[in-house]
């Protein structure tokens, strides 16, 4: 008597559990049961679990009968001729989905050649165990698992030809690679997903060598000549949006070139790119501070003096302008309206992103690094056949990371480039390294990928031979131009009078509590004081009541609001402390300052 559970609930008992489970599976294959049902006979605890709920991870496998897969050549032919589809295979019981539990009862062969009579299933392809991006890593089975992961993650950040209709799209923050290439070393997944239609990298000539220390710590040295030929060149697109909002009282925003008498008028110079409709013209070269969409809004508060004054009708300036450090070319201007029916202006800005020092590159094996130096073509090392590498990759990145696929791809890419063909690097199913090397030897190159190379500056041959070949490199979206930031003087916060924080606000880097501790630990009190001087102010303090007094600019005199006739003294303190004193007053605490002469 064996217990039977349906989706974890006890249902009843059966006498012959194996037969029962087999019968269920048979009826599923015959289409009498839903293909979503899985059956698992657990011999250890003697129970049959039938699962039909959602949320189980399942994978498709080819059913095997008597050592022969049910998927025949005829099936494949009909599939290719589009006479059959995947769902037909499932309906016919040729392919079925197993969940983790039912897999325990299955005996799955990896390849067709390994099939025996005991096998119950055949894997469709070894590739099926990976996801889409991971399948795009060639020679995956030669890499450490961790690097396979980072490699597939990096591919998601690569810039490429992301969509063919990019000119008419309004994407936020996208990059486009100008000259994408199809990888020389492919996997079947590249064909399956039509990678050739949206590639995201370039086949580069890589030499594994150091160069004056400029490629230490994962950096790469790049050939300026290659960049000038289009290596990694791309564009960065950013939209600017303005909307004509409607406010209560029939007031509306107006997109136009702002009049000079409005509140917050910038300067005529800033509006110079605007056409009569208040919007920039395409291909205008805009830079920091330039207005892209001119807009005015109605006054915020209609109250108090403004109501009676002559300038009551004054509108506010609310244009969209280029922010600090931004520049580019206006690509497209789109006039439309949004869901509420408000007029909507979208301007797409484009900017060149030529590779520069600090930009990030990676191969498909998690071997990422930033540009450490861009070397003139003439100074790059070259090989006997005159090949000048595009990238110099440091050999120190290899031993600890054990990315063997990176090295194999180098030779495979070299072979592919020389023989003019694509090399298959699919997981567990790739062309063999030995074959690739034999082919390379036949092409007249050393089979281990080594070549004698010459110093580009002196012309002398290097005393060691250099490992050169071709690797598919990806340019990642992390670029210096979007992240560079510095500040000497700049904006301050209104409330605390301390410097603003963050790149967008041209802010400084906070010297926080723990950083403060380091100064104290070193005993550098005066330096610490100087660092915290950013919100230094001088305020008059009443000698009588010890509260902060006020300074009358007209009479050039400080007086206490409480004591009026008392003497005051000027005290230097941080503005944030003045705020604390104000907050204490709000707590009904009287913070009296007792002044003593410092000297």
């Amino acid at each position: 008597m064996t217990d039977v559970y349906l989706s974890g609930k006890y249902l009843g008992t059966v006498d012959e559990p194996q037969k029962f489970a087999d019968a269920l599976i048979q009826s599923r294959r015959a289409g009498q049961l839903s293909a979503n049902v899985n059956v698992y006979y657990d011999r250890e605890i003697d129970a049959v679990n039938v699962e039909s709920l959602k949320g189980r991870l399942r994978r498709p496998l080819i059913v095997v009968k008597d050592g022969q897969p049910l998927l025949t050549a005829d099936h494949i032919k009909r599939l290719q001729r589009n006479e059959m589809s995947w769902s037909d295979l499932i309906k016919q019981g040729v392919v079925e989905y197993l969940d983790a539990a039912e897999e325990e009862n299955a005996y799955v062969a990896f390849f067709k050649r390994e099939l025996t009579r005991q096998h119950t299933h055949l894997d469709i392809a070894p590739l099926a165990m990976f996801g889409l991006t991971t399948s795009l890593v060639p020679f995956t089975n030669y890499n450490s698992a961790q690097k396979v992961n980072t490699g597939s993650k990096n591919q998601k950040q690569a810039i490429g030809f992301y969509a063919a209709n990019f000119p008419v799209r309004m994407d936020m923050d996208v990059n486009l690679l100008h000259y994408p290439q199809i990888p020389l070393v492919k996997t079947i997944m590249h064909d399956i997903v039509d990678y050739a239609k949206h590639p995201a990298g370039q086949n580069l000539v890589v030499a594994v060598m150091s160069y004056k220390g400029y490629n230490m710590e994962d950096a790469v040295v790049i050939n300026r000549g290659s960049i000038e030929c289009g290596l990694g060149r791309g564009s960065y697109y950013r939209p600017m949006v303005a909307e004509e909002l409607r406010y209560s009282g029939g007031l509306v925003d107006e997109i136009s070139v702002p009049e000079k008498d409005i509140k917050g008028y910038r300067s005529e110079h800033d509006y110079r790119f605007l056409e009569d409709d208040g919007i920039v013209y395409p291909e205008a070269q805009v830079a920091e501070g330039d207005v892209v969409i001119g807009k005015t809004s109605p006054p915020r508060f209609l109250s108090g003096m403004e109501e009676y004054s002559l300038s009551a009708e004054t509108r506010r300036e609310s244009s969209s302008a280029m922010q600090h450090g931004e520049a580019g070319v206006v690509d497209t201007v789109i006039l439309t309206e949004n869901a509420e029916g408000n007029r909507l202006i979208q301007v797409k800005l484009r900017d060149d992103r030529t590779p520069e020092v600090g930009d990030k590159f990676t191969s498909r094996h998690g071997q990422k690094g930033v540009i450490g130096l861009i070397v003139p073509h003439a100074d790059m090392p070259f090989s006997a056949s005159g090949i000048v590498p595009d990238i110099l990759f440091s050999p120190h990145g290899i031993p600890t990371r054990m990315t063997m696929a990176h090295l194999i791809e180098l030779v495979a890419g070299k072979t592919g480039a020389l023989s003019g063909r694509y090399v298959d690097g699919s997981v567990f199913d790739s062309e063999s390294e030995a074959d690739i090397r034999k082919e390379l030897l036949r092409l007249g190159f050393s089979d281990n990928g080594l070549e004698t190379m010459y110093n580009g500056e002196t012309g002398e041959a290097f005393s060691v031979r250099i490992y050169v070949g071709s690797i598919y490199y990806l340019r990642l979206k992390h670029m210096v131009a979007n992240k560079i930031h510095s500040r000497a003087r700049g904006p301050i916060q209104l409330l605390t009078r301390q410097p603003t924080e963050g790149r967008a606000k041209e802010g400084g880097l906070r010297l926080g509590e723990m950083e403060k501790d380091t100064f104290v630990a070193h005993g550098s009190s005066m330096l610490l004081k100087e660092r915290f001087d950013s919100d230094k102010t001088t305020v008059p303090v009443c000698d009588n009541c010890g509260l902060i007094a006020v300074y009358d600019e007209y009479k050039k005199r400080a007086y206490c609001m409480v004591c009026s006739e008392s003497e005051t003294s000027f005290v230097e303190l941080s503005y944030s402390f003045k705020l604390i004193l104000d907050e204490l007053k709000n707590l009904c605490i009287y913070p009296k300052l007792k002044l003593v002469n410092k000297y």
């Binding site: 501790d517 630990a521 005993g523 009190s525 915290f532 303190l573 402390f577 707590l587 605490i589």
Partner: protein
């Protein structure tokens, strides 16, 4: 120390006696000169922010500690809080620590393993309920009858009369007698009601018939080349009274107990030892003087104060310094109620008002003598 030159008398006694013992008399002055130079070099400069450096030196390595408890290999249910939780427990000055325990060192013949198991068992606390097979209330005779389990008694090596004599005098106003089948407990005052008997029953259950109160587990182990007894639960006072215990080395990890039994200086040393033990156990390297400074600040008032807003921080003179450490509003309001004055003498206050902090370069002030007019 008559032969020590006067200019070197300021050196610590320990240093002086070592120099005197090792240096030849003829070169005493030269050696002392060198020693004195070295001694002065090793001293902390005036204005060094020792407190902050101590805090960071303990705090930073603590962030790298693994938050695990240390397990006794092979012994069930004997794990001690170690790592960061233990450091926090010690420095916070918690009265109830999560795993109180003792290391009991023994005098000579026993430390070599003689009767070690017997001694260990005699320390372990056994309650009456542990040996009782039945506890019943006999309302007719208004007494409680406890029937001991003979097998369990034999296990701990006790007899029924032994149990009775151990129980006698433990609770006031109750007479204990051994009857044929059971031990009877009877209230001496006859007029007490039924309620009193029920209350007595609960008390009786937790009576100690053997061992030392509070010690729930014992474990004899070999440490180095002698046997010691590790216990779960502490009772330093009772253990130190036992004749076979080596009083000089036996320790508890309960700092408040050490303070009560041995005094504040012992507690200070215990804090240093306990913190240092954890840091060493984690394979970190922190100078012991940082722990000494922390222990000193915790103990210098004569009682143990944890480094919390109720402990050492509460004792700070400056209102702003207290407010900058947890519950600011409470401290500010209390200060205003008492009309406190902040003299801005320490670091935090001066950071807040942006004045030079009185450490390092901020301590130095220029003094100038005004020229007298003739």
């Amino acid at each position: 120390m008559a032969d020590i030159p006067k200019e070197f008398e300021y050196l610590p006694q320990g240093v002086l006696s070592r120099v005197k013992g090792e240096a030849p008399a003829s070169k005493l002055k030269a050696v002392l000169g060198k020693v004195s130079e070295e001694f002065n070099n090793m001293q902390v400069s005036p204005g060094e922010s020792v407190g902050l450096v101590a805090a960071e030196s303990i705090g930073e390595p603590s962030t790298q500690m693994t938050l695990n408890t240390f397990h006794f290999a092979g012994v069930a249910e004997m794990n001690i809080t170690m790592g960061l939780p233990r450091i926090i427990e010690v420095l916070d000055g918690r009265k109830n620590i999560t795993t109180p325990m003792m290391d009991i060192y023994l005098e000579k013949p026993y430390s070599q393993g003689q009767d070690i198991k017997k001694i260990a068992l005699s320390i372990k606390e056994t309650l009456l309920r542990d040996v009782a097979s039945e506890i019943t209330i006999n309302l007719a005779d208004s007494r409680i009858e406890v029937i001991p389990d003979d097998a369990k008694l034999a296990e701990i090596g006790m007899t029924k009369p032994g149990v009775v004599s151990a129980l006698k005098g433990q609770i006031k106003g109750v007479s204990v007698d051994l009857r044929k089948e059971f031990i009877s407990f009877r209230l001496k005052k006859k007029e007490e009601g039924v309620n009193a008997i029920f209350k007595m029953k609960e008390k009786i259950k937790t009576l100690v018939i053997k061992g030392v109160k509070g010690i729930s587990q014992v474990l004899p182990v070999k440490r180095g080349n002698e046997f010691i007894i590790i216990t779960a639960g502490t009772n330093l006072k009772k253990i130190l009274q036992m004749p076979m215990v080596d009083v000089t080395r036996t320790v508890s990890n309960d700092i408040f107990e050490i303070e009560a039994v041995l005094g504040i200086e012992a507690a200070r040393q215990a804090i240093i030892n306990e913190v240092y033990k954890v840091i060493e156990n984690q394979g970190l390297n922190v100078d012991i003087r940082h722990m000494m400074l922390v222990a000193d600040t915790m103990c210098n008032s004569g009682v143990i104060r944890g480094i919390t807003r109720y402990g050492t921080v509460k004792e700070k003179v400056s209102v702003l310094a207290r407010a900058s450490f947890e519950t600011p509003i409470k401290h500010l309001i209390d200060a205003s109620l008492h009309g406190e004055t902040d003299y801005l003498n320490s670091v935090v206050e001066n950071v807040m008002i942006n004045q030079p902090v009185p450490v390092g370069t901020g301590m130095v002030k220029l003094a100038m003598k005004e020229e007298q007019k003739k």
